[in-house]
Point group: C2
Chain length 346, copies 2
């Protein structure tokens, strides 16, 4: 990499016969610099091609104006919406964003956390990988008083701030809706249960079953990693069941849409033979046929809230309470994929 001489505040100071301190003050809009000097300095800076050196500044100020973000994967609709929200707020507030993905792998998450720590991010935003058991890789942040906010995939056993939706309620409502449409055997396809989002949705699903005198069957619970291949496998698994379900609650829209494909190819009618509820309200829900009933999960809004919360804390506008859970509204959006089930009891 070419190293071309950088212009520093010393160069400007020398040229203008003022002190570096004045230049520094002027450039950071300190009030105690006269209009005239300020103008001269601004002009000189521009004409000389000056750019501030964030490292020197950070080194001096012990602060980076950088937020770290660790997500399970970048290429997901939900995640990219959240990131869009975070970026918007961070950018408005003058923070840079360092982003990395754990690829659903605890080891990589640990490495990412270490990098973020060494990069001295002012705050960290995290959504956990599928298989993260232990959160001790975030201890360095807690120990140093660097705020960490979790969103979506959170952990309840850490005294940190969480931004989530009520997954239990969402799972309950999704299932209850299927029951209301007359479903008697409701399957559930979901992700790794060590993650709150999936565990809570499952709990909601189970409660709804129980409350309506339906028995939870382990055989009707499919746990996979919700990717394209697993979706097709899960759908085939369901087709192969002796007592085929008449409804499924799938905690991911893409997965649900893919399952629907498989079912339709197998000759089933949706929702008559199989009612389906997805999760997230991605675009895909409005495009598959029949349109997919789902839970609306406001990703971009979640990102904005997470970032606002963190920034406010960093700017000392608001404290980050020790255990502070923010729950966003989510709601069931009913579409054709689950309506008017043939066995509708009412």
């Amino acid at each position: 990499m070419k190293t071309i001489q950088e212009v520093t505040i010393y160069d400007i100071a020398r040229k203008l016969k003022v002190s570096p301190a004045t230049v520094s003050r002027s450039l950071s809009n300190h009030p105690a610099v006269s209009k005239k000097t300020r103008k001269r300095i601004a002009d000189a800076a521009k004409s000389m091609g000056y750019r501030s050196n964030l490292f020197a500044s950070n080194l001096r100020k012990q602060r980076t104006n950088t937020l770290g973000v660790i997500v399970p994967k970048l290429n997901s609709n939900f995640v990219s919406s959240v990131l869009a929200g975070i970026e918007k707020v961070a950018n408005q507030s003058g923070y840079n964003l360092i982003i990395s993905q754990s690829q659903e792998n605890e080891k990589k998450e640990i490495a990412n956390a270490a990098t973020m720590f060494n990069s001295r991010v002012d705050g960290l935003i995290v959504s956990l990988a599928f298989d993260t058991k232990d959160l001790s890789h975030f201890d360095p942040f807690f120990d140093k008083g660097i705020p960490v906010i979790f969103f979506d995939r959170v952990s309840y056993d850490k005294s940190s701030t969480n931004v989530v939706i009520d997954n239990f309620k969402a799972g309950y409502e999704a299932t209850q809706h299927l029951i209301g449409q007359g479903c008697k055997r409701i399957a559930h396809i979901t992700g790794n249960l060590s993650r709150n989002v999936y565990a809570d949705r499952l709990k909601g699903y189970r409660l709804a079953l129980t409350e309506h005198d339906l028995v939870f069957q382990k055989s009707q619970l499919i746990i996979n990693n919700l990717d394209e291949q697993s979706a097709v496998e899960a759908a085939n698994q369901i087709l192969a069941m002796k007592k085929r379900p008449d409804g499924i609650f799938i905690t991911n829209d893409s997965c649900a849409a893919l399952c629907m494909q498989v079912f339709k190819e197998a000759g089933l009618y949706i929702p008559e033979d199989m009612a389906i509820v997805g999760f997230n309200n991605d675009l895909i829900t409005r495009v598959v046929e029949p349109n997919l009933t789902t839970i609306n999960y406001p990703g971009e809004e979640m990102g904005e809230i997470v970032a606002h919360h963190l920034v406010n804390h960093l700017e000392d506008i608001a404290p980050l309470a020790v255990t502070n859970t923010i729950i966003l509204k989510s709601e069931l959006i009913i579409r054709e994929s689950s309506l008017h089930h043939k066995n509708a009891s009412k």
Copy 2:
């Protein structure tokens, strides 16, 4: 923000009665440190909770190990796939990623570029906003010899490295395919034509028409920003045409899927009444009915290539030729949405 005393190499040096220089060398695996000292230092560093100060290091080394990325929007399937690819490579190679989105707005892109410049990224990766006309906001990078690589939305009038697919060829093939299926009036829905991707696809579309003795009709060209609302509007616009097209080439899968919805609701049969070809090969193409013919556009691979290229250059493994365009393979994937058109001529 709490400021808790950080451990420095001086602390370690003092404790171990060695010099800071030795500690520094040891920590960065310089060969000229004895095994024994190395071990002592590593242990002390760990036990004292040392973390390296990247700012001091960067300040000293005049290098950041950070790559900047500016994309038009974060919440897009294609973009997030590319980012996933970039992140993978960057992370492997020990680079951090600073990411920002221009929100399809030149002004924001300019601001983002300035931030990246001040953050002293070692290299910059850019996909241009819809409306960026002038590229002078990247001049500071060129002037300082900081490598900038463009991908997807590139500009040909800058002597910089571009990573793209052959959009002209893709547009040609998509259109030719529709013609081969018997379409006589082929419309085209696309994005802002000041962007190469859309301009080139249009050129391909026009050439294919001309070569097959079909006349390009301005009225059959719809330019919008490809979002959900515009998609529906465009579809309605097409339905309202006096001479309704019998085929459409749409440069975006989501947009194509949404149009298909509108057409189907209006009672048209796809592909019999209207053959459709999309672009990107998103998941959605395999889920809509009928499945969507599209151009496969390998986003993650593109991200990996872009990042590799940049990193190799930074590591002096490979030069970044002055004008260097890398063209990735893309291909037409034929599915039901465009097949066996009723007017098929052969």
